[in-house]
């Protein structure tokens, strides 16, 4: 596998400009002769499809949802970062760049992060022009808030529904292109494989979820914007359908998978309350701006929170990190919550929770202001827990939320397979080992609106394509493999539901490869996952047929892929003998319990090449260089 990052030369501030000038252009009259497949209609995929349709390419866009407005981007609550410096508080492109590299614990590619910070400005302009109703001040200008550990107010937001509003902006742009015929939208179509002909990505195989029909779609380039794989953990904040299948199939066809162990555990989620629990619900991190996190000082203190006086409470984040207090980055906030619970000071069901208390905020700001800022979140909390957070502190606990790992891409967002572009959460991205709050929406839209529409032109203009039809032997072969895999799933007639296998996989991964990892736990997970996979294929049960709307079959296919991915996550976590960001190896920590990086040996991206199911994948490394933000021990004290 060849890993050429293709980062352009020159000063970092000029790389993107220079690159845009140097890239080849496709003649406007020729654009319609190129077919581009986009898989996914979230912020990244939808924005890419709409923008490339506008440019004149013939875009075929696929989603497994019933509509292009449903992707999980919609659930992002808090906001989107941009270095506008509208608040005059000292923000700049350089500062957003610096914060993102540092927040990612020095495991991201500097040039990509700098470009992201530059593009952040254009994203806000674009969204406002589309009619995204961001929060405003009384003078009519845009409001901002500080978010997730940033010391400047650079986050733009639309109440607690920023992801929804940005996605509706994308969806509406896409709808406009669909009406104009430049984008052909295929809803209820799930990508089940990637077609690679002579080493070049040329199409996908899909299943129509309503009719069960298997179809091959061919194109000159393929773009995957298919999201992250947190649902490998079974319980996560991701929507129920989020899965790894698209990127996993691409990996099995030769695309490199980068940093699969870099997963983010979000600190503020509603704790689990029962075995039947199907997912965890995120409460926006913005709550940490005004809420204070605490646990009882003494283990085993079972008094109701209101009866515990201040002197018996431990506001542990404020105590340990006086400069950042409750706003430390996500990985730290999550691990400290776990520590408190491990010490027996956790609260609520099973002692796996900490308090997030708004009493002081309500006293300081008044209930009305708190309600205006967080009303919809408080309502959601109350519906789920039957507790009123205006009166009783919320209980929160960390949950899998975002995956920084994903398919490896170069500066052009193209994988090692020519023609295969990967955008948004699906790529290994710009967040290094830890993503900062309000940066996922920024990256998805940057990739979709402003990067891949340019870089794909360079690829198309510089490539000559052999004509390809669906009767090509390689296309037939991939299509037949998809069919036989579906048959194999439908023939599973054991005693165990695939859901129960997924739940067990989730427990294995959470215990072995979750918030804290160690060699013993990872090795145990690595011995159990193949057994569980064997159990799935020998004793699993799938009902119904392949030619109908069959949700059991859909899920089974996704779970089968998680059963392979889970193993790769553990292999990667075991190989990375250091702690960084969301990857915390217990063997590698400072005396204070902070992540201890090993820059000498691990300043690289680990990229894995598929060698067969159950066989050790092969590791390649892309070295990372830090010219502008010298690696330092992250300190938030």
């Amino acid at each position: 596998m060849e890993l050429q990052s293709k980062v352009p030369g020159g000063p970092i501030q000029e790389k993107w400009d220079k690159h845009r000038f140097e890239m080849k252009l496709v003649n406007p009259a020729n654009k319609r002769k190129y077919d581009v497949i986009v898989v996914g209609t979230g912020l990244a995929g939808g924005a890419a499809a709409a923008s490339m349709g506008e440019l004149g390419y013939q875009v075929e866009c696929f989603t497994y949802h019933d509509s292009a407005r449903r992707a999980h981007s919609i659930a992002a609550q808090g906001g989107i970062n941009a270095a506008k410096n509208y608040q005059n508080d000292g923000d700049s492109i350089w500062r957003l760049f610096y914060d993102t590299v540092k927040g990612g614990d020095f495991r991201a590619r500097e040039a990509n992060v700098y470009r992201l910070a530059q593009i952040s400005l254009e994203i806000i302009d674009q969204c406002v022009a589309q009619g995204v109703p961001f929060a405003r001040e009384y003078g009519g200008l845009l409001a901002n808030r500080s978010f997730g550990g940033a010391q400047v107010s650079r986050t733009f937001y639309a109440r607690g529904q920023t992801g929804q509003q940005l996605l509706l902006g994308v969806y509406q742009s896409l709808a406009r292109q669909v009406a104009q015929g430049s984008v052909n939208l295929h809803t209820q179509h799930e990508m089940l494989d990637l077609i690679v002909v002579d080493g070049v990505a040329r199409g996908i195989v899909t299943r129509n979820l309503v009719t069960g029909e298997i179809e091959s779609h061919l194109a000159d380039a393929v773009v995957l914007g298919t999201g992250g794989y947190s649902n490998a953990f079974y319980l996560s904040t991701n929507a129920m359908k989020c899965n790894t299948t698209a990127i996993w199939r691409a990996y099995k066809r030769g695309a490199g998978f980068a940093n699969p162990c870099f997963t983010q555990i979000h600190p503020t989620c509603i704790p689990q309350h029962g075995e039947y629990q199907s997912k965890l619900t995120l409460m926006s991190e913005s709550l940490r701006n005004d809420g204070r996190i605490w646990v009882p000082k003494e283990a085993g203190d079972t008094r109701p929170p209101g009866d515990i006086p201040d002197s018996d409470r431990d506001y542990y984040l404020e105590r340990m990190y006086p400069a950042f207090g409750n706003l430390v980055p996500r990985d730290l906030a999550s691990r400290r919550a776990k520590d408190m619970c491990d010490e027996g000071r956790g609260v609520g069901h099973g002692g796996r929770g900490v308090y997030l208390d708004f009493a002081d905020a309500i006293q300081r700001l008044g209930r009305d202001t708190v309600e205006e800022r967080y009303g919809n979140l408080f309502d959601m909390y109350q519906r789920i827990t039957d507790e009123n957070p205006y009166e009783v502190p919320m209980r929160i606990y960390p949950a899998p939320h975002y995956t920084m790992g994903g398919l490896w891409v170069d500066y052009n967002l193209m994988s090692n397979l020519p023609g295969l572009h990967v955008i948004g959460e699906a790529n290994f991205s710009d967040h290094g080992a830890n993503r900062l709050g309000a940066s996922a929406l920024m990256q998805g839209l940057a990739d979709g609106y402003f990067i891949v529409p340019y870089t794909i032109g360079d690829y198309l203009a510089g490539t000559s394509f052999e004509p390809l039809t669906t009767d090509h032997p390689e296309v037939r072969r991939v299509e037949n493999e998809v069919r036989s895999r579906i048959d194999r799933l439908l023939n599973l007639d054991g005693t165990r539901t695939t859901e129960s296998v997924h739940r067990e996989l989730g427990r294995i991964l959470w215990n072995g490869c979750g918030m804290a990892r160690n060699a013993t736990g990872l090795k145990e997970a690595l011995s159990r996952i193949p057994e569980l996979r064997e159990e799935f294929w020998s004793n699993g049960k799938v009902v119904g047929s392949g030619d109908t709307y069959n949700q059991n079959l859909e899920n089974a296919g996704r779970i089968a892929d998680f059963l392979e991915l889970g193993e790769l996550m553990c292999v990667d976590a075991l190989e990375r003998e250091e702690s960084c960001g969301g990857h915390f190896r217990e063997e590698h920590q400072t005396p204070e319990g902070e992540a201890l990086r090993d820059d000498e040996n691990f300043t690289h991206v680990s990229v894995w090449e598929y060698e067969g199911v159950g066989r050790e994948p092969r590791e390649y490394r892309e070295p990372l260089e830090f010219e502008h933000v010298p690696p330092s021990q992250r300190s938030y004290a």
Partner: protein, 249 residues
């Protein structure tokens, strides 16, 4: 608690469909409605029966994928709550619950509780957008938008596109859905150039899709999981009348 569920089963769009009774046993009051359905479905699969098709995704009340009629009410009894956020503490031991798909001419049943809502997407395709090319936007603060306008646009833009308003309407009208999109875009300065063509084209598409007209029942705002007010319909009507009278579009 133990419950009796009467669930609409329909194998395909052409199948006639019928209610089938199921016993849901040991339901915890902490479960969400969909978790209760998960447990029921897992039990069916264990017995080798096909599970009940029911669509859902985020389970946070924001994606708009879920939605069934529960005892006659779209999304069930809780105000401002999508099906996924309804919790079983609402019910008591021995209750019977009737569960049906959205019923509207424009929403054919795909299977069991799942319907085809693509007509709503086509209404948006007809004009529910602001035509702005990627990269052509002025600085975000170049256009001042009053807080009142931004807030009222946001109230309307909160629509999740679930279709409950259509399901509850005696005319199966998509008026609340269509008006919410018009009210989002038409109060903003950015939405002015296409204001009147937008409303005409969207209404025309709504009619073409087979949705009924609005006769002011107001049931839609009662079941809307985002509690969008029928004030948006008044706003749409105002712009619609203006555009018809001035012959815009």
């Amino acid at each position: 608690m133990n419950l009796t569920l009467h669930v609409w089963r329909q194998a395909s769009p052409t199948d006639k469909g019928r209610f089938i009774a199921y016993e849901a046993r040991d339901v915890s009051p902490d479960m969400s409605f969909l978790e209760m359905m998960d447990v029921l479905n897992e039990g069916l699969i264990e017995k080798g029966e096909e599970p009940i098709a029911i669509d859902h995704d985020c389970r946070e009340g924001i994606c708009g994928t879920c939605g069934v009629v529960i005892n006659g009410s779209p999304h069930g009894p809780w105000p401002g709550t999508a099906t996924c956020q309804l919790h079983m503490r609402e019910y008591s031991d021995g209750d019977e619950i009737w569960i049906e798909p959205w019923r509207a001419k424009a929403f054919p049943v795909i299977r069991d509780l799942v319907v085809d809502r693509t007509p709503l997407d086509r209404i948006v395709e007809a004009g529910g957008f602001i035509s702005v090319r990627t990269g052509s936007a002025p600085d975000a603060n170049a256009i001042a938008v009053s807080k009142e306008a931004a807030d009222s646009a946001m109230d309307a833009a909160a629509c999740i596109g679930c279709g409950a308003c259509v399901a509850v309407c005696p005319n199966a009208s998509a008026m609340l859905f269509t008006s919410a999109k018009v009210a989002h875009l038409n109060v903003l300065p950015q939405g002015q150039p296409e204001r009147f063509t937008r409303v005409l084209r969207m209404i025309e598409q709504m009619d073409d899709e087979g949705f009924g007209n609005c006769t002011n029942h107001g049931a839609c705002q009662e079941v809307c999981p985002k509690e969008i007010s029928i004030d948006v319909i008044a706003l749409l009507n105002r712009d619609y009348i203006k555009s018809v009278r001035t012959g815009t579009a």
